[in-house]
Amino acid sequence: MTNSFVAFVGAPNSGKTTLFNVLTKSSHRTVNYPGSTVDYARGELSKEYGKSVTLVDTPGTYSLFPKSRDEEVTFELLFDTKRRPNLVVVTVDVSQIARHLLLVQQLVECNFVVLIALTMADRVNPSEINVEAIRKAFGAPVVLVSSMTGLGIKALAQEIIKRKNLLPSSIRDVMEWEPRKYERVLGQNKQIQSHVFLQKRINQSRERTKILDRFLLHPVFGFVTFILLMFGLFASIFWLAAPFMDMIDGAFGYLASTTVEMFPDNLIADFVGNGIFASLGAVLVFVPQIAILFLGISILEDSGYLARACSLIDKPLSKLGLNGRSFVPLLSGYACAIPAMMAARSMSSKKEKFLTLFIIPLMSCSARLPVYALLLTFLFWGEPAYKPAFFMVLIYLCSLFVGGVTAAIGNRLLKIKDVSFFIHELPYYRRPSVRLVMHHVFSKTWAYVKKAGPVIFVFAIIFWLATTFPNYNAPTDIEKLQTSYAAKAGQVMEPLMEPMGGDWRTGTALVAAFTAREVFVSALALVFQIADEDEDSLQNSLIEKMKVATNDRGDLLFTTSSVVGLIIFFMIALQCMTTVGVAVKEFGGWKWPLIQLFTFTTVSYVLAVVAVQILRAFGVG
């Protein structure tokens, strides 16, 4: 990293990251701190302000006494002797001055060059604010800003540019603060706060929050609303996304079949149609679902509701050895385990963090959606739509149940003694900014496409090669496939797949799914050469092929029992290598990720086999 940089520090919910996004025009990226496993967002001050300055966003912290991994990151960045920030911009919520100035006081005591950004100015009347008292008390410049209205942003950028090359003479270590000191400093801060507001005014955000909380935090209605909101969120993933998914599916299906039809018996056209279009389409089709889930999470988070949801669910989660703070990581796990695991950094207790990280891969992530969608559509082909929808809900509830049981078992087995606490600030409700929510949704969804896209592309090539060669001139497709390299490789798998009701084709698709779960669908699409089918969508072609697929003995390959077995396997198995990689980083070693990989995959296989055999014993095909 460059030598000079400006660090953004502030309490959670003080508007720090939003301000950082505004100043960098959101063109920042997460970088790895050299020599450690710490991630932070780094960006350049937007060009419109004239000068180039490196800005670094740090995880929110209330003090310089870290209690979670997140807060340690901030601490390590500030006190790294080799790369000291030239300037520390501290965000102080204008409605929380007395409390948020505690951090300013600690930074000043340690000799940092501080610039105070008084945020959320849209909540007050700027003409009634006098920042002079703060400036005098800390000897630091103060700028009143609002990321929502843009007030003071330019002035803040200029102040940053003015000070970007300053360096404090020497940084002092943090001295412990006694309770009496907190008492004294808070008292002083309250004095300062009283000078800032020229008029005694009614805090409207606070009043609105009080009224809303009376209902949303009500012992009974609070829970009912919570359950309805969660139900609404997951229902919208299916209902809202459906038309968009049909569009994408139809478009890629058309591209694939047209390409193959246009050049019959052409190897390259076959590759482009069956290999690239069909497999990419199989993955892109559920981008709408991911986007909607992230949209819901962003709106809930930015409005301030998510913090309340954590409090509502703290008690039930604590019974499983988890914490209210596990809620956001677990909910994110329904989108993707990777950001979910990183969200667990805000947790203080090591044991609770371990348990949360351990069960995140069991949450039904969006990569499983296309697999379930395909398998359920297959099971309920031609039946009313509410049936697959009902079973999808059932799968989600099952995954929640499996996660809960796993956490409860882990809670018994894991012998880590540490302090568990839940002291959680509930921010004022506010209307989420459309721009920021959209940015969030777009960046998360794009990150997903970027992660999945290349993997799928490479596998499409490998799979197409393996299923087409060496006998690419075979008279029939079936023969071409049965003599292909993929078939030979898959035959090794066959003894393992038999008890699950599969053959080498499901086996190879399952192995491929270990790179990313959604590859399962594209692998099946490749194995069955679906672009040759004359159907209006990829999914219809694939299901038609699955309906008639038989194994060597002529028995149907996809039956109710074998499909149920596959669903159970996908529910539990840890098939995402990217997750394992992130888990190594978040657990701080290979031990736990390997335990996860081994137990989840073994248990899923055993349960799948048991389910298939029981169903067959009861005469279900």
Binding site: S95, D213, L217
Partner: protein
């Protein structure tokens, strides 16, 4: 628990009634928890209001210096207030 101390009645916050304002006298208990409470503004001399209480003995919602903070009953028990 009610302690008589120089004719002043004090009690732990987790036992206190809803919609009342209390003055904090002392914050004591586990070091990490005490420090976090202090950082959040639960310092001696401050006023705290009990807003509500979650179902099944879940977290207590309090108001401290204009901020709403949820805390478990165990943590609220660390806060001694004037009755």
């Amino acid at each position: 628990m009610v302690i008589m101390h120089l004719n002043i009645m004090t009690g732990a916050l987790h036992l206190q009634a809803k919609n009342q304002v209390y003055r904090i006298i002392e914050v004591g208990g586990n070091d990490v928890i005490v420090e976090r409470l202090l950082e959040m503004g639960f310092a001696p001399g401050e006023e705290v209001r009990v807003v509500s209480q979650m179902m099944f003995a879940g977290p207590m919602i309090t108001e401290i210096q204009g901020a709403t903070v949820a805390l478990r009953l165990e943590e609220a028990a660390c806060i001694q207030v004037l009755l």
